[in-house]
């Protein structure tokens, strides 16, 4: 009896959460919150340094700049949620962009058909990654390191290293470069499309059984399997869907630069991982929110833009992004430690 009392007293004591535990718990629940706070602080600080920073014009520019990284980060997020990683995403995006633009320009394929072929190519490329991960059972890092090189090579072989210039790109492919001005704020169809992409993915992750299984697989793959989830099917669907997202990004990218070049997008893989991590999604899988990745992409964009306007050298901007990444990962580690 006395031990019972002692135990209850002990639990009572443990339950009296300290301030830091409360912060931990809140961050645990809303992993994107820390990046939102940093973003808010950054907006205030950069606004003080340059009066042009807090203008609708500048914000629409930042949004356009981060739209492509943001779109790739959406696909990257669902892969990272399963405790995977995709290094090939940028190469895949460029590959699909080249195929889409070249099919129509060189082979006279109707643009809509080229677009659909491009999307299917993205799905197939993603499924190939998924196949190597689930069936050949290779780690996602190694798989996508391999396919990264394969997609880069295929792009160069197919295009012979030649850019489809803006005079040669079919008007259909620059649809996502169109814009409307709302006062000073310019919103492009590409940005709208990326926001829709996030809404659809967020809905699927939050409200469907598939979404819950994605989290479960990343959280504890063995527990998911024992619970009767077809783990391989979930992983295949995730890599294929990510491929579709990257192919869609190709369309956004052609719209933004009004050309398809085999030599752009080399940093998209690391930039997208940066956005996902800063957005609070754990590299160990199973926790995070997809909107966080969009927030992460915007945060990087805001830092680059704000530092530029404040007259900070480019080298220091890179330094700032590095610090941001380490900060985000440290916060993630802190949250995880609290719970285990």
């Amino acid at each position: 009896m006395s031990t019972e009392v002692a135990y209850d007293a002990a639990t009572e004591f443990m339950n009296r959460d300290s301030f830091s535990t409360k912060v931990q718990n809140t961050l645990h629940r809303y992993p994107w919150l820390s990046s939102a706070i940093v973003l808010a602080i950054a907006l205030v600080v950069f606004g003080r340094f340059n009066e042009n920073f807090l203008t609708p014009n500048n914000f629409s520019l930042i949004l356009q700049q981060v739209a492509i990284v943001g779109a790739v980060a959406a696909g990257q997020t669902i892969i990272i949620l399963t405790a995977g990683i995709d290094l090939s995403c940028g190469a895949m995006t460029v590959f699909v962009a080249m195929v889409m633009a070249t099919l129509t320009f060189k082979n006279g394929v109707p643009p809509v058909l080229s677009f659909i072929i491009g999307l299917l190519l993205g799905v197939a490329s993603g499924a190939f990654n998924g196949f190597l991960v689930t069936k050949v059972k290779l780690p996602p890092f190694i798989v996508t390191l391999g396919t990264l090189n394969i997609f880069v090579a295929l792009t160069l072989i197919y295009s012979k290293g030649r850019t489809v210039r803006n005079t040669e790109v079919d008007p259909f492919f620059v649809l996502l470069g169109k814009y409307i001005d709302i006062g000073e704020f310019r919103i492009t169809t590409g940005v709208v499309a990326v926001i829709f992409l996030y809404l659809i993915l967020a809905f699927s992750l939050r409200f469907t059984g598939w979404g819950r299984h994605v989290y479960a697989v990343g959280d504890d793959i063995e527990a998911a399997r024992l619970a009767g989830i077809s783990v391989n099917r979930v992983l295949m669907s995730v890599y294929s869907l990510a491929g579709l997202v990257f192919a869609f990004t190709a369309w956004v990218q052609i719209g933004r630069v009004t050309a398809a070049s085999p030599n752009v997008g080399g940093d998209l893989n690391l930039d997208s991982i940066t956005a996902v991590v800063i957005g609070g999604t754990s590299l160990f899988g199973g926790r995070g929110a997809i909107f966080g990745s969009f927030l992460g992409a915007i945060l990087v964009g805001v830092f680059r833009n704000g530092l530029t306007l404040a007259g900070v050298d480019l080298y220091y901007q890179i330094l700032a992004v590095g610090v941001l990444i380490l900060f985000a990962v440290s916060v993630d580690q802190w949250i995880r430690k609290a719970r285990s």
Binding site: Y7, H28, F203, F207, T208, G209, W210, R212, H213, Y215, A216, D219, D220, E222, A223, A224, L226, A227, G228, I229, G286, R287, R339, S340
Partner: protein, 264 residues
């Protein structure tokens, strides 16, 4: 016993290459009882249970549920037949909440087009059902059904796993070393849950190494030795020493009268 067995495994043979894991093993489970399965390492406990759940396919022998012969090829088959297993590895997803874990892999969709076209989950409905199940099992220490499983103690996590099994286990529930990773107090919680399940009339197979626990909750004890059933005893007629003796082969059981003979 006059009642018909819920589950009957007859003369199961299972080999892995040259290793004979199960050699003519049999098992009977009657309605509303807790049957403990004990045995030394390598006696074939796990293999026997895997054959019952469909995780392994026996090489020979038959398994009957309610007198109907069944052939399980995959764990899903056993599950469809109403057999639920709670694993010692605490097969719950830490970051997901209790309700999500309870319905993991068997989510319920909303009615109407929201469910059929948009594939939306009936989260409110699942939460309600989860809460009812948790309350019905008397796991009062869990306050919030939306809290992540990783915020729970080991015993509470195991309780979530048991609740999941109880929600979907129509025929029987198998608990594989459910207290192996738990402390004394938490083990007691799980044992209480087992008794609650029995009171509901669901038969339970409990695999355990822990003799005091087995003697506390089991109605009958199936002793597995060298790939076959060495004896079935009850806590009333035999002592822990007897059971350990049978397990290790120090005591021999006469098939007919179930009396114990020490081996010289």
């Amino acid at each position: 016993m006059s009642k018909k067995p819920v589950l009957e495994a007859k003369n199961i043979l299972k080999t892995y290459g040259r290793v004979v894991a199960l050699d003519d093993a049999s098992l009977q489970l009657f309605p509303g009882e807790v049957l403990a399965v004990v045995g030394d390492n390598g006696a074939g406990k796990s293999t026997l249970i895997k054959c019952l759940t469909g995780a392994e396919v026996p090489d020979a022998g038959s398994i009957e549920i309610d007198g109907q012969e069944v052939h399980f090829r995959r764990p899903q088959d056993g599950r469809h037949a109403g057999i639920e297993t709670v694993y010692q590895t605490l097969a719950v997803s830490p970051a997901l909440d209790i309700a999500s874990n309870l319905f993991l892999g068997r989510e319920i969709r909303k009615k109407g087009p929201l469910g059929s076209i948009f594939r939306m989950l009936d989260q409110a409905g699942m939460k309600k059902a989860a809460k009812e199940e948790i309350m019905a099992l008397g796991i009062g220490t869990i306050q919030n059904i939306s809290q992540a499983v990783e915020t729970l103690s080991g015993g509470q996590r195991q309780a979530v796993a048991v609740a999941r099994a109880a929600t979907f286990g129509q025929k029987l529930i198998i608990l594989d070393e459910p207290t192996a990773a738990l402390g004394v107090r938490e083990s007691a919680q799980v044992l209480k849950l087992i008794q609650t399940l029995r009171d509901r009339g669901i038969p339970v197979i409990l695999i355990s190494h822990n003799m005091p626990q087995v003697f506390e909750v089991a109605d009958r004890i199936h002793v597995q030795r060298l790939g076959r059933r060495a004896a079935v005893v009850t806590p009333k007629t035999h002592t822990m020493n007897d059971v350990v003796g049978i397990m290790t082969g120090a005591l021999k059981v006469e098939e007919k009268d179930q009396t114990l003979q020490p081996i010289r």
